[in-house]
């Protein structure tokens, strides 16, 4: 039944990673703890472990993304998996093959793990429910971003980064700034932060970019950036998509930068040891000033490094022997 979250099996073990919503804190901590030793692997001469040797990982990207696909590819290869990249885009639907037909075909090719990105919210849930209905319980799904809904590995790597620099979540104030309405990154991070008991989670943005009833997700809403940044330990900037910079949501990129672009001046409202994060790719001069992005408070590049370790952890927990 679709009303049960298909990512946990009857014993409460993780079988798919679809969203951070509803994941027990212990499962999130297990993933973060598993990622710790993987960070060190990158510094070794042989950057491989055999945890997924003989397993086939299919990167199933219905929406283009070089960056996320590459990090998953590297993570799978470091786990010694065979990696197959499929950039399906819109072409498969024009050929008449449905999403689930595509999945069935790849299962027949002995896929062990699907990394799925799709423009529609809920597409990875559909695939996971389908696999469960077909009894394919040995095939796992990792959501690599679905519509506006979730991007759980990004959320996990954000949590990893915060934990790395700040330790415990219980005393932290975290601000998420920008286009929350369209952001799966924001939703996943908010669920992760609230699940791990973060003291205060704030969202900052103009009303056109905040979804209705966002406060029901357990966040404080700020429209004024300086007020929202006051005393923050962590600031997470969201990417503003090009198509949203002009039109009915926002008048211009310039005006957006003036109110919500992160500058050194605005950042001064936060705590002295604040860290600045961004899921990438950045729009310099739109949501973030280069002085901040390249400055001492930025942990944007370590995020990328941790991202590979976190994805290795997720895949090894799901499909590892």
């Amino acid at each position: 039944m679709p009303n049960r979250n298909p990512q946990l099996n009857a014993d409460g073990a993780l079988t798919h990673l679809l969203t951070l919503e509803g994941l027990p804190p212990a499962v999130i901590r297990q993933i973060l703890d598993t990622a710790v030793p993987f960070v060190g692997i990158a510094e070794r001469e042989v950057k491989k472990v055999p945890l997924l040797r003989g397993k086939a990982v299919f990167n199933l990207f219905f929406e283009n993304s070089t960056r996320t696909r590459t990090t998953f590819e590297i993570a799978a290869k470091r786990l010694s998996a065979d990696v197959i990249n499929l950039n399906i885009g819109a072409s498969s639907t024009s050929k008449g093959e449905t999403l689930l037909d595509t999945v069935d075909n790849l299962v027949a090719m002995d896929a062990d793990l699907f990394v799925v990105r799709h423009a529609q919210s809920g597409a990875p849930h559909l695939i996971a429910s389908h696999l469960i209905a077909k009894g394919r319980t040995h095939v796992h799904v990792v959501n690599a971003g679905d519509g506006r809904h979730a991007h759980p590995t990004q959320g996990l790597l954000d949590l990893y980064t915060i934990r790395h620099y700040k330790g415990d979540f219980a005393n932290l104030t975290v601000a998420v700034v920008g286009d929350v309405l369209h952001s799966r990154v924001a939703r996943s991070l908010i669920h992760g932060l609230t699940t791990l008991g973060t003291a205060e989670v704030r969202v900052i943005g103009p009303r056109t970019l905040l979804p209705a009833h966002v406060e029901s997700m357990g966040v404080q809403v700020y429209e004024d950036m300086r007020l929202g940044l006051a005393n923050c330990d962590v600031v997470v900037m969201l990417r503003l998509q090009n198509e949203r910079m002009k039109g009915a949501l926002l008048p211009s990129a310039g005006e957006y930068f003036k109110h919500y672009g992160l500058t050194m001046d605005k950042l001064a409202a936060a705590k002295e040891d604040v860290i600045v994060m961004h899921p990438g790719p950045m729009n310099r001069g739109v949501e973030i000033d280069s002085a901040v992005a390249d400055g001492a408070r930025s942990v944007i590049l370590p995020q990328v490094t941790f991202g590979i370790a976190v994805r290795m952890a997720v895949m090894s927990i799901l499909a590892g022997a």
Binding site: T98, S121, H125, D146, A150, P211
Partner: protein, 437 residues
């Protein structure tokens, strides 16, 4: 199971006596145990037999309710053009299995019902199949494109009982005004589902906590209220008989109540699934819960339930929309909206009545006589001389909704697994038994 081959024609019609049943006719306020006598396709008498009565057939309705055949204000039969989803045969079979003997079908077929020939063909096919009465709603504008008025006079002659845009919004308010003026000139009713096309653009779920959590593009309640305020302003001027289809919000219920108090010629319906479900039932992207209008919040659901009880909402309909598996096995936003409903209209209406402590006769009124009044057709009552369209149901029969067991070609229901109470046992159309469970 059914009497295929019967015709409405005089030759086949005999006499029928229904004994021992509890006769409930909301139109006349009847609620008593009495025999019902049927002759020549019409109700001959209730209680005392007509003089010289001889029954060719007897039905024992002990423990059952004998009610007027149900009248459903919205059932998509998918013909012409969408036969891969359903056919007239399959859906009329579903109708009589659900006790529905008269139904209105919206014009959103392919092509839309905008030409008399299409309507005549539909009526003709329905007569051949000889099940429930089919009352087509004609397209208000050609191809539902919202630009050119249809030939409403010709369409009415062909059998259309009202005119609507189905779920296609009429964007141009001037065309909407002209359509209402023209329809009012000739006394045609206009049916509209209130939804502002711009506020609803791209949306697939109610704007609220659930859509925000799931990242589903949202349709605010304002989309309905903004459209209703426009529609009522135009009705105030044109005095056209206006039927509001598929109300979905608490604010909308209040606006319809105010319009009725003001004396505007307005009626209103709600889809039966909106009386029981809300956005929370989307769960983890259950495409069966992708409906039009979207399932809204619990406050809206409570207002709709109260609105049916107090009469603000005249009728409850199934909003039957059979969709094939391919149309539903897609991500929520891409899945085709709608739910199959003809076979669930009665038990879901009874469920509402039981939960709201509404008596059986009042509940049945919402799916019989009140719906027939909206439709302006001779149906929905057991008056002597009225067509003998009868639904005999067991009000205590509990059953589980199993999609595969539905007669409709569409197995798409958000109520799969629900245990419902109340089941149609016998359906009579024009004096002929067309369905027996």
């Amino acid at each position: 199971m059914s009497a295929a081959g019967y015709r409405y024609g005089r030759d086949a019609i005999g006499t029928l006596e229904i004994r021992n049943g509890r006769v409930i006719d909301p139109a006349s306020g009847t609620d008593r145990h009495a025999p019902v006598y049927v002759a020549d396709g019409a109700i001959a008498a209730i209680g005392d037999a007509p003089s010289g009565w001889r029954a060719e057939r007897m039905l024992d309705a002990a423990g059952r309710v004998v009610a007027p055949g149900l009248v459903d204000l919205a059932a998509r039969l998918r013909e012409p053009g969408l036969e891969h989803k359903a056919t007239l045969e399959s859906e009329l079979e579903a109708a009589i299995a659900g006790g529905v003997t008269s139904l209105a079908c919206p014009p959103d077929t392919d092509p839309p019902l905008d030409e008399p020939g299409l309507v005549e063909m539909l009526k003709h096919r329905a007569r051949l199949i000889n099940r429930a009465h089919v009352y087509p709603i004609g397209a208000l504008t050609v191809a539902l494109a919202g630009e050119t008025l249809t030939e409403m006079g010709e369409l009415a002659e062909a059998g259309c009982v009202a005119f609507s845009q189905a779920d296609t919004p009429l964007v141009d308010t001037q065309v909407l005004l002209r359509a209402m003026q023209y329809a009012a000139t000739f006394g045609h009713a206009v049916w509209l589902r209130p939804q502002d096309p711009y506020l609803a653009r791209g949306g697939v779920a109610h704007e609220g906590e659930v859509a925000t959590r799931l990242g589903l593009p949202a349709i605010p309640a304002m989309a309905e209220t903004v459209a209703l305020s426009t529609i009522f302003a135009l009705v105030r001027d044109t005095r056209v008989h206006l039927h509001v289809c598929r109300l979905s919000t608490a604010e909308g219920v209040a606006m319809v109540a105010a319009a009725k108090r003001e004396g505007l010629p307005v009626t209103c319906d709600v889809a039966v699934h909106h009386l029981h479900l809300c956005d929370v039932d989307i769960g983890w992207f259950d495409s069966m819960a992708h409906l039009v209008p979207p399932l809204r919040g619990t406050r809206d659901r409570a207002a709709l339930r109260a609105g049916v009880a107090d009469g603000t909402i005249d009728a409850v309909c199934s909003d039957h929309a059979p969709v094939d598996d391919d149309g539903k096995q897609l991500p929520f936003g891409e899945a085709e909206p709608g739910a199959t409903g003809l076979e669930l209209l009665l038990p879901l209406t009874l469920k509402w009545a039981q939960e709201e402590r509404v008596d059986l006769a009042s509940a049945l009124a919402r799916i019989t006589v009140h719906a027939a009044r909206v439709l302006r057709v001779p149906a929905g009552s057991l008056a002597v001389g009225a067509p003998a369209d009868i639904c005999i149901f067991d009000p205590h029969h509990a059953w589980r909704v199993t999609p595969a067991a539905l007669r409709s070609q569409g197995r798409n229901t958000p109520f799969a697994g629900y245990e419902l109470v109340g089941r149609t046992m016998t359906t009579i159309v024009g004096g002929q038994v067309v369905f027996e469970a």
